[in-house]
Each structure stands twice: as C-alpha cells, then as structure tokens.
Symmetry: C2
Subunit: 212 residues, 2 copies
C-alpha cells in the first residue's frame, strides 16, 4: 500500500461518481466539460487506487474506501507478540506489603500472581493494592491471594492476538494491563504483558518508524 | 492524501531508482527489458504518488517518502484539545485518605491538587498514594501537600499542543497523565487531563473512525 495525492480534477471526479454513480466515463466528461480522452488517465488512476470500480455496460461507481480505512486495515493486523513487555510475577503467599514493594522495585503498574507450578492464578493492579492499603488490615500480614482478582475473572490474551483487540479490551474493561499467556497442561503460563504504555508507544512509533 | 496499491512492475521501478537513481526512463526500461513507452504510465503514477521525482536532463530519483511517513505526518497534527478528558482536582489540605477515596469515586488514576485560587500546585498519582500508604503515618492525618509532586516538577501541556508530543512525554517521564492547563494571572488553571487511556483510545479510533 502506498499513498498518493489526488489532483483537483481527480477529486472532482470522485465527487461526481459519489453523487451520481454508477456513471459512464462519457457522462463524467460531459459534466466536467472535457473529452473522454482527457479523463482517461485520471479514471485509470482512481480505479487503480481502489476509489472507483468500473463495470462494463454499467459505468464507474464509488467503492467508499478512504485512506483512513486503508490505514485502519493495516493497524488491525498488528500482533501482540511484536509489542508485548516482560511480565512481573509474585507468588500467591507473598504479603500485600511485599507486592507493593515489588511493584515499586520493578516499576510496573500490574503484577501477575502465580502458584507453585508457575500457573497464573491472579492479577494485582495498583488500584487493588491501594484499596487494600486503606483497609484496616496490617499489609505485612495479608497475603495477596486475599485481595487479587482471580481466575476466571482475569482477562487474558495470547501472543497471536491482535493489538487492537487488546486495546479495545483495556478501554472497555477499564484495566491497565493484560497478561499474555501460553496454555500448558496445568493452566496458563504468563509469558508477557500488554499495557496502556505499550499502546502509547505504538502511537509514538506510528509517527517515527514504519511499523505499518 | 489517498492510498494506492502499487503493482509488481511499479515496485521494481522503485527498487531500481532507489538503488541507481538519478536514472533516466530509458535506462530503467533497459534494466527491465521493456520499452520506454510501456513504462510511461507506471512512471507517471510513481511521480504523481510522490515516490519519484523527475528532473529534466537528470532523470528520476527516489524521494524516500513511504505511506508510513505520510500517515505519520497526519498523526503528528492531532491536538490535545480534541482528545483531552475532564480533570479531577482536590484541595491542598485534603488528607491522603480522602484523596484515595476521591480517586476511587471518580475512577481516575491521577488527581490534580489546586490551591484556594484554583491554581495547580500538585499532582497525585496512584503510585504517590501507594507509596504514602506503606509509610508509617496515619493516612487520615497526612495532607496531600506533603506527598504530592509539586511545581515546578509538574509536567504540563496546553490544549493546542500536539498529542504525539504528550505521548512521548508520558513514555519518557514514565507518568500516566498530564494536566492540560490554561495560563491565568495567578498561575496555571487545570482545564483537562491527557492519559495513556486517551492514547489507547486514539489507537482504537484510528481503526474505526477517520480521525486522520
């Protein structure tokens, strides 16, 4: 996919076909007070670019595709595996206090809780830890498994999922991160995380690199 | 700007000009074992699309612009004002405990602290509040102005700033939100906030709407 800037006449043709299509090349030429021959290269370009389609004995009609739609089509193909970050995990019997310290040490916003087989059993967000911290309990004596979000309420994703589906999930469920998991015999193993920070980076990359 | 899909021959021409440009149409034709006349429409399209430039007595050369770059140019034009959210503010003398409650009630990740003239004096992130909550002090008796990030260490933005600059700042400074401010006689008034959630939404919108 490449980008092209249409000239004024091509834009006029698009408008005519949008309004009056299907319409023959001769009718378009008439409306523009030009000859069919003059229009030929413009019509060829518009057809090649996917804006117009030509059908024998019918004429030209507008396909309705815009550059934004074509960009969208590419953005929708980005996969989790190419943008995921490293996950930070804690054990189920760790205290809320230690989990908070791990969060600061590792500088992440979400921790994943795993059992002794390294299987995902819970998620701890800053919000979960903050809620616990204004409770009455002593943070050093409460284990994280009391306050964590647990399976099956954890939203997960896989490395072959689409980034855009994860972005939609983060927005809709109002969460900051999803674990990227791999199915094993014992359950889900956590192999990555995708966060709103990753999404912000993708947006920045779109203006810097050629990730599309 | 519109998008066009190049055919195989056009891609070949691009590669030739990229490698050997400036190069004349005749030389390109020779390399492809075709006549100059056969190539004419392809060269016309590549020139129109902005990939190649033609200079009399010099030949064709590659401009180096790709569709990603053209997308980037548009993305770089998005302004804060079109994507900002409503800010949630608390007063300087509110307790850390009450600030945490406000954060939950309003369901935001960042609070802005204002003085009696409604001027921005501080920022409270979930991280700040979490750090305070594992301290030794009683949360109901510590005012937020003890723990908040204060001016001049607050990174701000204005509604006419570019979204992409805010995104870069969020990543580089590892923060979740920036206040959108308006300059008044007394200082900065908070009129909005821009968060990583906004950035995630923009990414989703790119695949749904036509915000470019």
């Amino acid at each position: 996919m490449r980008t092209i800037e249409l000239n004024k006449r091509q834009e006029q043709i698009l408008q005519i076909v949008k309004g009056d299509g299907p319409i023959t090349g001769e009718q378009i030429a008439e409306k523009l007070d030009l000859t069919r021959a003059t229009l030929r290269p413009d019509l060829a370009i518009l057809t090649m670019a996917g804006y117009l389609e030509a059908r024998p004995r019918v004429g030209y009609f507008y396909t309705g595709k815009t550059s934004s739609q074509l960009i969208a089509e590419k953005l929708r193909k980005l996969k989790v595996r190419d943008f995921q970050s490293i996950p930070v995990v804690v054990n189920t019997n760790v205290s809320v206090y230690d989990a908070i310290c791990t969060m600061f040490l590792e500088d992440v916003g979400t921790l994943f809780v795993v059992d002794e087989s390294a299987v995902l059993v819970g998620v701890l967000s800053r919000k979960d830890l903050l809620r616990a911290s204004i409770g009455k309990q002593e943070l050093t004596s409460v284990p994280v498994n009391i306050i964590m979000t647990r399976m099956p309420n954890i939203t997960i994703c896989r490395k072959e999922d689409y980034i855009i589906d994860v972005a939609i999930t983060l927005i809709e469920k109002q969460i900051d991160a999803l674990p990227v998991v791999k199915e094993t015999e014992k359950g889900f193993e956590v192999i990555g995380r995708v966060t709103k920070t990753n999404m912000t980076s993708i947006l920045v990359n779109l203006t810097e690199d050629e990730i599309l």
